[in-house]
Every structure is written in structure tokens, then in C-alpha cells.
């Protein structure tokens, strides 16, 4: 069943005959499995016009009618909630500024009413919620379902997020580092449909990375795989909250950039100063791009991914410079690999992590559909 769902995901629409070809299962088995999946409202039939002669064929695709997934991103400055259907289409987006809030109690004052209202709304409309995913600043304690001690995120150390969400909202809940949820948004709903190895880099108040290898998230032994924000960029740089010194995050994140500029306190102000040709602002941006370039060359020489995706709240301020950065990178990469360099902006902008949090549940559905539905029946 998992294999059939994965094929449907990959092709978005596929006929039963093609499913037989791709899976090697008998047409009887495919008929039975697809019948069951249709009954479960996970997939549906629809007619599509195919080929030159315009023959109409019965195709299969995910059924967007019944199930909804909620994705939550608990960020350092913002809260974002999305509702998606089984095609990954965003049905609803809620965003709140959290920059004056601190710690779980403060956050849940905002989250609780929003989530309860959202659940009511979805259920009233006759939809069924498959589960809840949440992205948070890492690193995390996966076995406990809690946050460890994320830099720049006071009050959350050791907070049992997974259990709290489950108990509060009664939904099947998965949580993950926000760089990894962002990577999973690309993997399942974005540029990753045909890419097995990618690195997602999210740049904002912190800098994080999500590494996908062979289509799967790589967490590492301590959950630290992909902590690209904590690679050393300045050999004798300042001490970072993580314990290392000279981390990319200390100079390349939004606070890192603004700490190197005396002309203002926001990226908007820096952008404006650059537009006006302010020398200090220009130098600050030039150094920022130099750090980014060095970090990216390290990402290539360490992971060698097929695709690097850049996102996060800082990215829009760097987007205009991406082309020259890529050209510099090419000149610094092994000659034979230059032409295969591929860097893209994230597909879902500021909703990236929340969409990816929802995608965690989609991944669960693809790998263990029966178990996820049983958990839902039990919930």
C-alpha cells in the first residue's frame, strides 16, 4: 500500500496500468489496493485527457476532499499555522508576530485559541484531521519529544513539546527541528519530488540546515547533522551560544548581520541604506555575501547535494545577490562539478517550516498508511 501511495505521490496522477508497470504488482493486486485506498478516501479517481488523440483515461491521485493536516511552526519571532490537503495544497494560513513573547506558556496563550478554533472549523466543514506536525528551533531530544537547549530561544529548554501538543489537541503529533521540517516541505511538496539528496538552509534569527539523503532526513548521532549555522567561518570569531566560536550564525544570521552594522536595527533599514549607497551598509552586505559564499562552498565540499535550497526570513534580503554568489561559487568549486551546481529559493517562503511540519505527517502516511489511520481511529 505504501509503495502504491509513493508512486501516486511521485507522478501526481497515474493510471492503474502504469501502477502495474511501475510496481511490478499484478493488476488484480493493484485493483484491490486502489479500491481500498479509494474507500479510505486517501486517493480518488478522475478523468484526464491524455495523448494526441485526446482519449479520456481514468487516473488516480490523492483525494483532497476528506483529510486535512495541520502544520505548526513555532519560531523565534513568529508563529505560523497552515492547513493542507493531501495534495499539499495550502488551504489556510495563520501567522502571528511573537517577538514580544517568551517561553512555552506565553506561546501557548496564542496557540491554544487558534488551534481550538481551527479544529472546530475543519471538523464543522466535514473534514477529518490526519494529524499535527510542528517545527521548532533545534537541536531536539527525539526520544523525549522535547527541545534541548536551542540558542536564542529562552524558556524552551527541555520543554516536552510533543506530549503537550498531543494532550492539548488530541491529534497524532510529530515534531522536528525547523530546518528539517523545511527540508521535508521541499522533499514532499516542493523541488524534492525528483531529487534524492538536498540540503535546506534556513536563515533568520538563527541559521539551520536540513539534510535529505536518499529521500530521507538525516539526523546524525546526536541530532546535529546539518547544523550548518554552527560551522566555523571566522577562525578566531566570537563565542556562539552553541559553545563554538566564529560560527556562521554569529555573523550571517539577521542578528549577526545587524551586529556588524551601526546604522540601524532592522534588515529593512539596512536594505534602504544599501539602496542609498551608504558605504558601511554596502560593506556589511559584501561581508555577509562572502560568509554565505564560504558556507555554501563548505556545504558542497562536505555534503555534495544535488540541490541546495535557501529559505528563512533573511533570504528575501539576499535574493537579489544570489546570481553573483552562484558565479563566485562556481569559480571555487572543483571544475568538473561547476555545471551541476544548483541553488534555488524555497518553494513556500515564510510558510516553509509549517508546510514541512504538515509534510511530516504526509511522510508518515506514505510509509505507514494503515498505522496512521489506526492511530487516528484510536484518538
Amino acid at each position: 500500500m505504501s509503495e502504491v501511495l509513493e508512486r501516486i505521490w511521485q507522478h501526481q496522477q497515474i493510471s492503474r496500468v502504469e501502477l502495474v508497470e511501475h510496481t511490478g504488482l499484478t493488476s488484480g493486486t493493484i485493483t484491490n489496493l486502489t479500491h481500498e485506498l479509494i474507500e479510505l478516501k486517501l486517493i480518488r479517481e478522475f478523468e484526464a485527457v491524455s495523448g494526441n488523440v485526446g482519449r479520456r483515461r481514468v487516473m488516480l491521485g490523492f483525494d483532497p476532499s476528506l483529510y486535512r493536516i495541520i502544520g505548526l511552526d513555532i519560531g523565534r519571532a513568529t508563529l505560523e499555522i497552515v492547513v493542507v490537503d493531501l495534495n499539499g495544497k495550502i488551504i489556510k494560513t495563520i501567522e502571528r508576530d511573537m517577538s514580544d513573547r517568551k517561553g512555552p506558556d506565553d506561546y501557548f496563550e496564542v496557540i491554544d485559541p487558534l488551534m481550538n478554533e481551527l479544529k472546530r472549523e475543519i471538523e464543522t466543514a466535514g473534514h477529518s484531521i490526519l494529524g499535527l506536525g510542528a517545527g521548532v528551533p533545534g537541536p531536539m531530544d527525539y526520544s523525549a519529544g522535547s527541545l534541548l537547549d536551542p540558542p536564542n530561544f529562552p524558556g524552551w529548554k527541555g520543554f516536552p513539546l510533543q506530549r503537550t501538543l498531543e494532550e492539548k489537541f488530541g491529534l497524532v503529533t510529530l515534531i522536528e527541528d525547523d530546518a528539517r521540517t523545511s527540508a521535508m516541505a521541499e522533499r514532499w511538496y516542493g523541488l524534492g519530488r525528483s531529487v534524492q539528496d538536498l540540503v535546506f538552509i534556513t536563515m533568520g534569527i538563527g541559521i539551520g540546515g536540513g539534510v535529505v539523503h536518499g529521500g530521507k532526513i538525516v539526523r546524525g548521532t546526536n541530532g546535529l547533522c546539518g547544523q550548518v549555522g554552527h560551522m566555523t567561518i571566522l577562525l578566531d570569531g566570537k563565542i556562539c551560544d552553541c559553545g563554538n566560536r566564529g560560527c556562521w550564525e554569529t555573523v550571517g544570521s539577521i542578528p549577526g548581520i545587524l551586529s556588524r552594522w551601526s546604522g540601524g536595527n532592522t534588515m529593512e533599514q539596512l536594505k534602504e541604506a544599501i539602496r542609498q549607497g551608504d558605504a558601511e551598509a554596502l560593506e556589511c552586505m559584501e561581508n555577509t555575501l562572502g560568509y554565505l559564499e564560504t558556507a555554501l562552498i563548505n556545504v558542497y565540499n562536505m555534503y555534495d547535494p544535488e540541490l541546495v535550497v535557501l529559505g528563512g526570513r533573511l533570504y528575501p534580503y539576499l535574493a537579489d545577490y544570489l546570481l553573483p554568489v552562484q558565479n563566485h561559487l562556481r569559480s571555487r568549486l572543483y571544475a568538473f562539478a561547476k555545471d551541476r551546481l544548483r541553488i534555488e529559493p524555497s518553494t513556500f517562503g515564510t510558510s516553509q517550516s509549517a508546510v514541512g511540519a504538515a509534510a511530516l505527517l504526509f511522510g508518515f502516511l506514505l510509509s505507514e498508511p494503515v498505522r496512521l489511520l489506526a492511530l487516528n481511529d484510536g484518538a
Copy 2:
């Protein structure tokens, strides 16, 4: 058959009853499979004393009597050939200094007579050669079985090594980047028996890395995964042969270290100068260790492996400093991960890459025993 071989490798000695338990196969199937493997001379029975009462039990292990694997390491300054049995035991080692030789023709003048003599010797003794593995400085073109354009290794650009070895010696041949062969030596015959995620760092004339994830080598999209020697350590450092600037290799390899010291031309001389308390030599070593420390913290924050193994011809000169380096590293690592830091010296010293080259064939044997034996019968 592959699963049974893998269990035997993991346990080194295992009974049929334990094989049934571990694989979930029926005892009839295990009896048949082990019978076949014994007939093929891949495994053998032997008696072992087990438990408190000293009961003798029939155990199974790899059969070291018939098969031999040849491992070749084509290095920038040395050539090494090893012969191992199916337990990974080194039967014979040949080493040649190649520092006055340049390019394939020059190298094969040495390799040809050694290999031909070795083959004769093995076959005369009644052994059968399962295959030949070779490690070379990367990066490589895997589809062509050739070297790309390895830094500091003139004359080898584009050389079709795999085909040349196969044609010259008539053996099933696998080739791989020497950092990856070194990693595979640990994986199959060394510290990796119980470790799924490790990074092997080989430091010598160049610096390379071999990344093992989930027990398997990770090559990356262009074969560049694990190019730790080409991470940027000095932001505005000198241009490296790879195209990047400030690479660890430019300051941390043997030539990199010696380029920062005016008192001599060899590591032995540097070592002696340090012993005598020469200030410049001490400073050079201090900086070397600082670069190593930074490189290792990046390896942890990027890959987060269970184990880092250090090897190569430079390593013996750094071994005495490993403890303080580890202590510094702990202070720079995320607090929760400090205690799990594990850095070990390589198991096979200067033979590491050659043993790993042989291990490539052992890996092939474990995953596709029938195919490898068939290739041998056809050869």
C-alpha cells in the same frame, strides 16, 4: 545468503541456532544456506567453548583457507599492496616509496612485476583470488572508473584505472577514493563493526574524508561528499588546487604544515625542533592543532557521526596531541553532545587504504556473493 554472511561478519562466530534467531529464517533454510556457503569455502565450521560449563558448540565463521583478496593503495608518495583472507587478516604487506615517480606509466613499472609475482605466489600456494581493490586520490569519475583531476597528483587526470587493472591482472576490480577505502577498512574490519555512522579523515600530502552513513559509503552527487580537506578554514586563505581558497588542506596537510615553517622540509625535522623547544616550530604545531580542532568541530556540526577516525601519514605526528584537542573540542561542542564525542586513531596505520581497498571486495561479497563468485568463474 547475503543476510547470513552479514550476520556471520557481525558476530565473527555464530551458531546455526543464533542465525535462525537473528534472521528469522527457518532452521531448514539456515541448514541449507550454511551448507552451501561451506561448500563454496566462504564459511567453515569450528568448535568453540561457550558458557560457564564449558560446553563445546559448533560455530560458523568465515573460512580463511581458500580465498584471498588483494588491496592496492596508489598514493601520492607510496604504493602499498596487501593480501587479506576472508577474516580481514593481513597475510602480506608490500610497500614502496614512490616519491620520485610521476604518472601512471611510472607507477605501473613498479606495480606490474609486484602484482604478477604476488598472483603467482598466491596461486602456487593453492589459494584463489577473489578480486582486487584499489584506492587512489579522489575525486573520481565513478561511471568511467577513472580519476578526475586529483590535486597534487600530476599525470593521472582521466586515467582509466579500473579498466587498466582489470586488463592487466584479470581480476574482478573495484576502485575508490582513498579516503573512502580507508573508511571501508574501519567499517568492515575495524572499529565500524558496531558503528553505522562514521567519518574517516586521512591526513597526509592531501586531506580527504570518507563518510559512512547507515553502514554505507556516501559519495554525493558528484563524488565530493566528505571532501573535508576542502572546507574553508581561513576565510581569505590562499587558493587551493581544488579552486577554493583557504582550504584546510592548504594549511593542515604535510605540505601545508611545512609551508608555514621555515626551519626544515620534513615532519621529522619539525618534530625534532618541537622536542628542542624551537619557538617557531611550536607555533607552527599550535596553529596546526587549531586548524584540526576547527575542522573537527565542523565535521561534528555538519555530519554528527558516532565516530571520527583519524589516519594517514600525518597522523603519527599529531597523535600525542589528540587528548588536548579532544578536550578543546568538547568545550566547543553543543553541551548535550559533549560526552558522546568519540575520536579514534585508524586501525591499520599506513596500510589503512590498501586494507580498505580489499574491504571493497569483501563488501561486494557480503551483498552479492553469488554474483561475485560467478564473475570469478568467468574470469
